[in-house]
């Protein structure tokens, strides 16, 4: 994904996320300044005067299971069926090359894979439906197919960038 000009960190989760089985959730709190900038960005976008895009950054995903696709949702209710909330889908990421990228002595030094997802439209929809919280978001990362017991994925950081 092409890096937009003037990017700024809005918020990030506090600790590494382990994805096992059916998936995992994490909370991404926003900085006070980030809340204000996000609100201004979404307000401008809803008026037809876009002032940038909002991205979700999944950083340093590591694991040994290459054949996975992660579906990433924003503010998916607990216990909800993802198929009934497609409007909350931020994107899907294919983890091909994950095993090689996660090898500590490999060329990448075990830093894994990182992805950026454009979540502007999802946030706009949540804002229009008045379902958008002010200070934090939940991010659900659900494998397309449930992971085996021996398979785990680690996501070092989930961040929101404007």
């Amino acid at each position: 994904m092409t890096a937009p000009a003037g990017t700024e960190l809005l918020g990030a989760n506090a600790r590494e996320v382990e994805i096992a089985g059916a998936g995992a959730r994490t909370t991404v709190p926003l900085d006070a300044d980030g809340q204000r900038k996000l609100a201004a960005c979404l307000a401008a976008a809803s008026e037809g005067k876009p002032r940038g895009r909002v991205y979700l950054s999944l950083e340093n995903i590591r694991g040994a299971h290459d054949a996975s696709v992660l579906n990433v949702y924003i503010n998916l209710p607990v216990g909800a069926r993802p198929g009934e909330h497609r409007h909350l889908l931020a994107g899907s990421v294919g983890l091909y090359g994950l095993r090689r990228a996660s090898i500590p002595q490999g060329e990448e030094g075990g830093m894994g894979l990182s992805y950026m997802l454009d979540i502007t439209s999802v946030l706009l929809e949540l804002a229009n439906a008045r379902l958008l919280g002010a200070d934090e978001f939940t991010v659900s990362m659900l494998p397309q197919r449930q992971l085996a017991e021996s398979d785990h994925l680690l996501v070092k950081r989930v961040a929101m960038v404007l």
Binding site: A3, D33, Y55
Partner: protein, 252 residues
């Protein structure tokens, strides 16, 4: 982590400007100051020194520390652009300066500690073989072997790795310091041998610094590779130069 081209350009120019100021300090202070042995990094003083005691009398240890700091800033600033950019992009706007300061502090601690060892090596070399190229020849041979070694490649690969940083509070400060310490350690692992060479030369100190600085910068342009025995240093820089000069076409 994403960052815009304008931000990157401003940050890069600021870091390189500090490096340029360090180079100017190293090169111009001896010329501008009447004292013949002025300046903390002075080839004339090293040439005249017949022993460590003489050298120390000419350039007291605090000035040697200042000289080492100037040398680090001058030679390492180009390779610090990428990690500083990562710290900048990974931090909230209001704490970017603080995070970068913590990173640079951690990095500096490692190199200052190594500087004590390197200056001690110079002391031994000056004591055993004053005004001789013997120590420099020995260091050059060691540096040549290390330059080609798989261990060096592992260190360079690690230098390219910039992990995520915590965003809030003390955890963010701690991560910035840790990143500085780790980056410093891997940088020392990659560069220790070539950094020793300008120190032990009896003359041509600044020219050697320029050459070593260019080598360090060019080898960081290379992407991470498998750790094998091979010559490394200028392949990416040479490819870029040939593309710019039109001697090689961009593959279709």
């Amino acid at each position: 982590m994403a960052y815009g081209s304008q931000e990157y350009t401003r940050l890069r120019n600021a870091v390189l400007f500090m490096g340029l100021m360090a180079w100017l300090s190293i090169a111009l202070v001896p010329l501008l100051w009447d004292e013949p042995y002025a300046g903390p990094v002075c080839s004339a003083a090293r040439l005249a020194a017949t022993s460590w005691e003489t050298l120390e009398a000419l350039i007291p240890t605090p000035f040697q520390a200042v000289g080492w700091v100037l040398m680090l800033v001058a030679m390492m600033s180009p390779v610090l652009v990428a990690p500083i950019r990562h710290v900048y992009a990974s931090s909230f706007a209001h704490r970017r300066g603080r995070s970068i300061a913590f990173f640079v502090g951690g990095y500096a601690v490692v190199w200052m500690a190594v500087g004590c060892l390197i200056l001690a090596v110079e002391r031994v070399a000056a004591g055993l073989m004053p005004q001789s190229y013997g120590p420099a020849i020995g260091v050059a041979l060691v540096a040549l072997v290390w330059q080609m070694s798989p261990a060096k490649q592992r260190c360079i690969n690690r230098c390219h790795n910039h992990g995520p940083l915590a965003a809030f509070g003390m955890a963010a400060d701690g991560d910035a310091v840790c990143m500085g310490l780790k980056t410093g350690c891997w940088c020392v692992g990659s560069c220790w041998a070539v950094m020793l060479l300008p120190i032990v030369l009896p003359q041509g100190h600044i020219v050697a610094m320029l050459a070593v600085g260019a080598l360090i910068f060019c080898e960081r342009l290379d992407p991470p590779r498998a750790p094998l025995w091979r010559w490394r240093g200028f392949s990416t820089a040479a490819d870029y130069a040939m593309l710019r000069l039109g001697w090689r076409n961009v593959p279709e």
